[in-house]
């Protein structure tokens, strides 16, 4: 099925087009010039020129996570490839499908310390799901199609294809993407039917059940979230989501307990601690969720649905492992549940809800209402209120603002919340927002940012302006690396070592310098106005919201503590000092 011989560079672009790619995020350089030359001569692929390769990968992540498609990156050899490493690691940790094409020095120079040579496959081996070095043009088309298959099937992840320059010039055959039958990589997507039955049995018997769901549901596609929603509603059981899972179940549903984990709600974490059946769908018992492992949900039976067998029994031993794709498992489960119509223990469940409602009454996200300063929580509440009814996509940077965004913005649908969960990469949010906006030109895309994080990839403002992408950067500016400051306050005796940024740019002028719009709110009374203005302006906007510098993010489960040792507010900290053991944890 080979066609006319083409150059390697043409084969690469043809393979991308045949894989349904529409957008590439990239940055040129010597080792990819043949590909850029081929790009110049075609119209099928749109190339977005970023300002740093790290930005390219995060943009591709934002694109991928908001669409469910594979994000594609093109960078040059050496520094181009090494700049991409953080983004690749981020995508690996958060299971984002990325294909990253890297240029490489010609094959005969590999190993010679040639100009801009780096051992890209060596460097990226531990931070990709898989990588390839294509040494012969005859392998090119197959490897590229395989790369897409590997990136998106099973547990998604980043794949690097390293492309020596001579291979880009060489002439070879093109093979279209057949139904790929990979020789060895065939992840199990359909669960064993006996496990589904066992799952139904355990769920029917439970007295204090809890759905604990994560990014796997989002990755599995929108129908997975629909099925989850239907199942949770059918059972009437409570549901909590991880940071990565937000949107997989509607936040407005009364069955939703809010986010679980280090900065999750009181009710979600206590329900995790006290449940007698934990139904984990597509979450991975991350240490940010479990807290102290020895004290993690001591009285529960645990079911774990995951497409990646290596996630099962990694941190927490479970009673029933169900390997499969969330969407497929949930479909089977719904069918089995409906067929069986099990009699659940209504009285016990009602009692469980009574207990949960008691926890809810603590109103754990309450904060001091004041008009003297802008509380960051207030700014986010207003952002949420004033954007309701719109198609809103949110990305974040990393820090307190990220956690507050997770607590105070409510997501009804999957793929609308993009945050760096596993790696916690400052600088993720702006490039990710650019990727999201490209995929959803009409939508409102907001990067909830901290003033420290935003500086890590601020150069991408220039990209946003070039492509007229009206992303909104909503900076909760506390002048501190707030999350670092919070840990130093609570755990390191208030010694604020290097967490204050003594010289920050004027973000309004900075926006203007980039050709974007800058807005500022210094008082609570101005918050609504700047948000309205931000939404109205059809251009990239930086909003500098000058918030309370001393606010801390609660609830908080300090590292090494159990769920029921949660700090609910400033008054709590004195009584519960962090353990020595906890201090060494991150």
């Amino acid at each position: 099925m080979s066609t006319e011989p083409m150059s390697g560079a043409e084969i690469i672009l043809k393979a991308l087009v045949d894989q349904g790619v529409e957008v590439i995020f990239g940055y040129p350089g010597g080792a990819v010039l043949p590909i850029y030359d081929a790009l110049f001569k075609q119209n099928a692929l749109r190339h977005i020129l970023v300002r740093q390769e790290g930005g390219a990968v995060h943009s591709a992540e934002g694109y991928a996570r908001s669409t469910g498609k594979v994000g594609v990156v093109l960078v040059t050899s050496g520094p181009g490839a090494t700049n991409a490493v953080t983004g690749l690691t981020d995508a690996l940790m958060d299971s984002v499908p990325i294909v990253c094409l890297t240029g490489q020095v010609p094959t005969h120079l590999i190993g010679n310390d040639a100009f801009q040579e780096a051992d890209t496959t060596g460097i990226t081996r531990p931070c990709t799901k898989h990588n390839y070095l294509v040494k012969h043009v005859n392998d090119l088309a197959r490897v590229l199609h395989e790369a897409f298959y590997v990136a998106k099937s099973g547990r998604p992840g980043p794949v690097v294809v390293d492309l020596p320059k001579d291979v880009q010039f060489a002439t070879g055959p093109y093979t279209p993407p057949a139904e790929i039958q990979h020789r060895s990589y065939k992840p199990q997507t359909k669960a064993d039917s006996r496990r589904i039955e066992q799952m139904v049995e355990l769920m029917a018997k439970a007295k204090r059940p809890l759905f604990y769901c994560g990014g796997g549901v989002v990755n599995s596609g929108p129908e997975a979230a629909q099925r989850l929603t239907e199942l949770v509603r059918l059972t009437g059981y409570p549901c909590t989501l991880t940071l990565m899972g937000l949107g997989a179940f509607p936040a407005s549903d009364p069955l939703f307990l809010g986010m679980v984990g280090m900065h999750g709600t009181y009710e979600a974490n206590l329900a995790m601690h006290d449940c007698d059946l934990m139904i984990n769908v597509g979450a991975r018992f991350d240490d940010r969720v479990t807290g102290k492992l020895a004290a993690f949900s001591p009285g529960s039976k645990k079911i774990h649905v995951d497409i990646d067998p290596s996630s099962i029994n990694k941190n927490v031993r479970v009673d029933l492992a169900v390997v499969g794709d969330c969407s497929s498992v949930l479909a089977d489960l719904l069918k089995a549940w409906k067929a069986k119509k099990p009699k659940v223990d209504e009285r016990a469940i009602a009692q469980w809800w009574k207990q949960i409602d008691g926890w809810r009454k603590r109103n754990c996200l309450a904060y001091e209402k004041t008009d003297k300063v802008i509380k960051p929580q207030y700014a986010l509440e207003r952002l949420y209120a004033l954007t309701r009814g719109r198609e809103l996509f949110v990305t974040t940077e990393v820090g307190q603002h990220q956690m507050w965004a997770a607590q105070f913005l409510k997501f009804e649908k999957p793929n609308h919340w993009m945050t760096s969960g596993g790696l916690g990469t400052m600088g993720y949010g702006l490039p990710a927002a650019i990727g999201v906006q490209l995929a959803h030109p009409e939508a409102l895309v907001v990067d909830v940012a901290g003033e420290a994080s935003i500086l890590m990839n601020i150069q991408e403002m220039s990209t946003a302006v070039q492509y007229r992408l009206p992303v909104k950067i909503f900076i909760l500016n506390n002048q501190w690396m707030g999350m670092v400051r919070q840990w130093q306050e609570l755990i390191h005796g208030g010694r604020y070592s290097e967490s204050y940024t003594a010289s920050l740019p004027d973000f309004v002028k900075l926006a203007e310098a980039f050709g974007a719009v800058g807005l500022r709110a210094s008082q609570a009374g101005e918050v609504d106005d700047v948000i309205r203005e931000m939404i109205k302006v059809d251009r990239p906007v930086i909003v500098d919201v000058c918030v309370d510098q001393t606010e801390n993010c609660f609830p908080m489960i300090p590292s090494g503590a159990a769920h029921n040792e949660m700090l609910l507010g400033p008054a709590d900290k004195a009584e519960k000092p962090t353990s020595e053991e906890g201090m060494v944890l991150v």
Binding site: T121, G122, R125, P126, K129, H130, N131, L133, V150, G154, R155, H182, R183, S184, Y185, P187, D308, P309, S310, I312, N313, K314, R317
Partner: protein, 167 residues
């Protein structure tokens, strides 16, 4: 750790560049033990290699190791021979011993008992070749120490399940 146990794991992989680095990187990156690791192509037509890894860990760690190996893209099959049942393990060692007089004679005598073969000899040295279980090789080396042990080269363990079935 008390419930840590030795396991011998066979892994069938595509014989492609970087595959060994993937496996080794997995072990070092995740902090697993490697007691020994051997690799060679076993099916030239299918371009498949077999890696034999001897490792140790708690049951949970061993389960992780297998799952982590299994999800590497070029891995075809992972088989925990220790769990599968009876299997044989062999290792090849080359052992250089230097000595004269009674010590030299004694080393030959012991080699004979252990069925080690002298495959090189000078007037004051031997190179012995022996195959066997790692324990047997260890025992032989121990006995050679006072007799002029100079150098040891070992392959690490290769293993295969007993019976007619492949892994």
């Amino acid at each position: 750790m008390s419930d840590s146990k030795r396991h011998t794991i066979a892994v069938l992989v595509d014989n492609e560049p970087g595959v060994l680095a993937r496996v080794i990187g997995l072990f070092s990156g995740r902090g697993y033990n490697i007691e020994s690791l051997t690799v060679a192509e076993v099916d030239a037509a299918a371009r498949q290699s077999r890696i034999t890894i001897v490792t140790s860990g708690t049951p949970m760690v061993i389960e992780q190791i297998k799952a982590q190996l299994d999800r590497l893209v070029p891995v075809h099959r992972v088989s925990d021979l220790t769990m599968v049942g009876p299997h044989v393990e062999r290792e090849l060692a080359l052992i250089k011993v230097r000595g004269t007089g009674e010590k030299r004679v004694e080393s030959l005598r012991i080699a004979d008992i252990f069925r080690a073969r002298a495959i090189d000899s000078t007037i004051d040295s031997f190179v012995f070749e022996m195959t066997g279980s790692p324990d047997k090789i260890n025992a032989f080396i121990k006995l050679m120490e006072p007799l002029g042990l100079i150098e040891v080269s070992r392959t690490g363990v290769v293993a295969i399940a007993r019976g007619s079935q492949p892994i």
